[in-house]
């Protein structure tokens, strides 16, 4: 049976195993987000007052940084699909740089909070803020490790236009990290 090239592909981009991992991660983050929102509904004044102490600029810059890194990863996938391994390596390097900027900004933010004595036990808002953002922080690190491994393999010519499942697998994970932050930013930093 001949299929039209315009018909949808049957499979998700990359290795299917990563999608099981992605669905599980999204479920965990989703429960975390909903728990935050309902905890807030019982103590709106405390959450609003504590939220006002956050540096929204850091949150907004980090959102722009992660969205841009995701865009760079899209460029890397497009490059390898066009059989441009060298260009793919450059875009992956750029995405990794963005990931590093995200981590540095987040460390500055964490340091600012810890240096004035804020901890998980300060109040319910900070418990959620610190645990949610740290949990995401760890996912960014894992995403960077995956992207770095793909970059090394791509540099050695390990991927091509016909064989780029590994690049798509890593890209899918990185976009999941971006997707989660896109919800986390307005939820924790903006909406009141």
């Amino acid at each position: 049976m001949i299929k039209s090239t315009s018909s949808p592909r049957a499979h998700l981009p990359g290795d299917f195993a990563i999608w099981i991992f992605i669905f599980a991660e999204l479920l965990v983050f989703g429960i975390f987000f909903v728990a935050y929102a309902f905890a807030r509904s019982y103590n709106v004044e405390l959450f609003n007052a504590s939220q006002s102490t956050l540096t929204r600029e850091f949150g907004a810059i980090n959102t722009v940084v992660l969205i841009t890194s995701s865009y760079f990863v899209v460029q890397a996938v497009t490059a390898i699909k066009n059989d441009r391994s060298d260009v793919c390596v450059n875009w992956l390097g750029a995405a990794l740089s963005m990931g590093a900027i995200f981590l540095v900004i987040k460390i500055i933010e964490f340091y600012g909070k810890f240096s004035v004595g804020i901890s998980l036990s300060t109040n319910t808002f900070y418990m959620f803020y610190l645990s949610l953002t740290f949990f995401h922080f760890m996912h960014v690190i894992l995403g960077m490790v995956i992207l770095a491994a793909i970059l090394i393999k791509a540099r050695r010519g390990g991927y091509s236009a016909k064989d780029h499942t590994g690049v798509e697998t890593g890209a899918s994970y990185w976009h999941m990290v971006d997707l989660v932050w896109i919800i986390l930013f307005p939820l924790v930093y903006i909406i009141r």
């Binding site: 949808p8 592909r9 049957a10 499979h11 998700l12 981009p13 999608w19 669905f23 999204l26 479920l27 989703g30 987000f33 909903v34 929102a37 309902f38 807030r40 509904s41 709106v44 609003n48 006002s52 929204r56 600029e57 949150g59 907004a60 959102t63 722009v64 969205i67 841009t68 995701s70 865009y71 990863v73 899209v74 460029q75 996938v77 497009t78 699909k81 066009n82 059989d83 236009a161 016909k162 798509e168 899918s172 976009h175 999941m176 971006d178 997707l179 896109i182 919800i183 930013f185 307005p186 939820l187 930093y189 903006i190 909406i191 009141r192």
Partner: protein, 93 residues
């Protein structure tokens, strides 16, 4: 062989990136004014929903896959955003 490789354009993704950045700036400007009412919260949640859908469809590449997979991702996004919206509505009562 390279002659069998289809060209994959990148321009549509650049537009998606630009829209995502603009929606982020919108959220940031609203956040700076610290406004909390049902209209603003609804606008922010809707813009977040749009951003999430764009990342799922274009960056994750799910606009090319079968509806089954898209429904899983859209359901997650709608359920999470819907429950967040409901919780905020409760907080405004």
């Amino acid at each position: 062989m390279s002659e069998n490789i289809k060209s994959h354009p990148v321009r549509p993704y650049t537009y998606v990136w630009l829209i995502l950045i603009l929606l982020t700036l919108f959220a940031f400007v609203v956040g700076k004014h610290e406004i909390g009412n049902i209209t603003i919260v609804s606008l922010l949640l809707f813009s977040t929903l749009i951003k999430g859908q764009m990342v799922i469809d274009f960056f994750m590449g799910l606009h090319k896959v079968r509806w089954f997979w898209k429904i899983i991702m859209y359901s997650w996004l709608l359920l999470v955003m819907g429950l967040i919206g409901f919780a905020y509505w409760l907080g405004l009562q």
